[in-house]
Amino acid sequence: MRVNKRVVLAVLMLFMLGVVAGCGASQEPTGENAAPEKATVVEKIPVGINVELSGAVASYGSNARNGAILAIEEINQAGGVLGKQLEPLERDCQSKPDEAMNLSAKLVGEKIVAQIGPLVSGAVAGCTPVMMKNQIPLIAPAATAVNATVDENTGKTRDYIFRVCFLDSDQASRMAEFALKELKVKNAVIFGSTSDEYAKGLAKYFKEAFEAGGGKIIDEEGYVNGDQDFKATLTKIKGKNPEFIYVPGYYKEVSILIKQARDLGIKVPIAGGDGWDSPDMVKVAGAAALNNTYFTNHYSVEDPAPAIQAFVKAYQDKYDKVPDAFAALGYDSAKLLAQAIKDAGAADPQKVTEALAKIKDFPAITGTMSINEKHNPVKKIVVIEFKDGKLVSR
């Protein structure tokens, strides 16, 4: 019995420790209430950059971070926002949603005006409750899942979550429209990855849009990420004589797939989404095989527009590599935030949130955008064509 009492006591002590720790946590909001008075004194505006600098999608996060830092440096050199300098607070969420959430909570404690990142929809979802509770806006550079900004159960827009990238449904329907109207094809085969939600979503939305536009899907096939041999299915597809093949997936498999398709004598246009965006496409498939292939993307490095070329040059000067779509989206996220702070007239999270929701015709690298009522950007999606190994926007 005695032992039992001790155990009870130990549990009680642990419980009390928990209560004390809980008190520590609940003190944060009180500290925050005191923040506005402090903010008038501080000459810097802290901006949280919570992205994947290591782990599975490290290349997405690091490139977006590079883009955002470049934008912030440009803004600061031009005199900052409202006379104050932006101060980036970089954090690495290690490509883990739970780590992203913990870092968000810490960044909130550091009085950030807004958070940029994470890149992946799942990690954004991890941060969402923290941002909503503390009423601080989050700008997601590349979260393409529909429910990132909208609660799918209630259909309500998440007040503090915004994004600068297009949705998968948008890019799939853009490609369907491009195939029907500009390539003038009447039927298509879908041959996409079945291992991830991204590719499955694209296939579904493409089918809906293509059929709604009067086209006919004559076959649907799939592969698994990691596959290297697509010849059997391609031979089958060839036998059906389609006019167009839609291949939603990532460059790793798609590059091999296109090469094998061309080897088998399939000459029709092949198209896909932003997962195709990689220098490996040309290296693996070869320039000749890629002719007559198209993909939807956030922007094109080859776009001759002066603003885009200035960005590409600045990025190359600083990082010694060509900016990919994630770099451009990171850059746009930071520039969009600066615009919102300017519009709000104060570095106050609540006012900045209201300003973000009202953004109209903002000239971003990834296309002039307006934020709609679902906190998604409305912008034109570029279709990029491979021409002799070069990317040409259509």
Partner: protein
Amino acid sequence: MQEFMQQMINGLSLGAIYALIALGYTMVYGIIMLINFAHGDIMMVGAYVGFFSIAVLGSNIIAALLFAMLSCAALGVIIEKIAYKPLRNSTRIAALITAIGVSLLLEYVTIFFLTPDQRVFPESAFPLHNYEIAGLVISNKDIFIFVLAILLMLILQYIIKKTRTGKAMRAVSQDPEAAILMGISVDKIISVTFAIGSALAAAAGVMIGLYYNTINPLMGIIPGLKAFVAAVLGGIGIIPGAMVGGFLMGILETMVSGYGSSLYRDAVAFGVLILILLIKPTGLFGKNTGEKV
């Protein structure tokens, strides 16, 4: 009909690769009753050695192939000496788990030093050329892989059936203790088996690199598993069985993708494994011998 013939060509070139990997599985199993799960990863190391000798040393494809085969033969012997030999008298499950450990070690050491990114096999090493015969597309790579696989299998058959080493290997396989009594060095024979098996895996690795243009540190897992199924299909431990199993597996997969649905391809491949184990556990070429107790 034309589409069917094209699918046969696709199936044979895929099957040639499975057959080469399956040979290594079967040889090692035949001698020491160990399913060497690191075999697919030795293939991956072979692909990397081939890649670096072409891309960095600038050697031609034959030299790269030989270099990869030699390096992996050495690697196979080292792995056997360090990881498997101390466990030779332990339970079979201990050796099996060690094999899985070696497999993971090879994968993640490669990732650590060479990053998880895929690498593009230099196209210049073996430029593609397509031949069109009566509407069928056959590439020089298809022919190369098929001929090389058959050639290596014939050499292997010769070594096992006609040479002294081969005779010793068969002896060890039948009864290791009796083989020792006959003056055969079992350790040496096991080393030779690992060397030959790993060299064949390296050849398969370089061929995969050539054929699909890309290599990555985890490329050995799925082909390794499929080749294992092929070895079981033919009758594990039986060399002609591994060849036939490999080709059957390649053709089966191709036909499922071509005439059924590509989504069921892997389900059918591993379904076949379950069926064989249920109906004829010794495989197509296996004899039903009662286990000695």
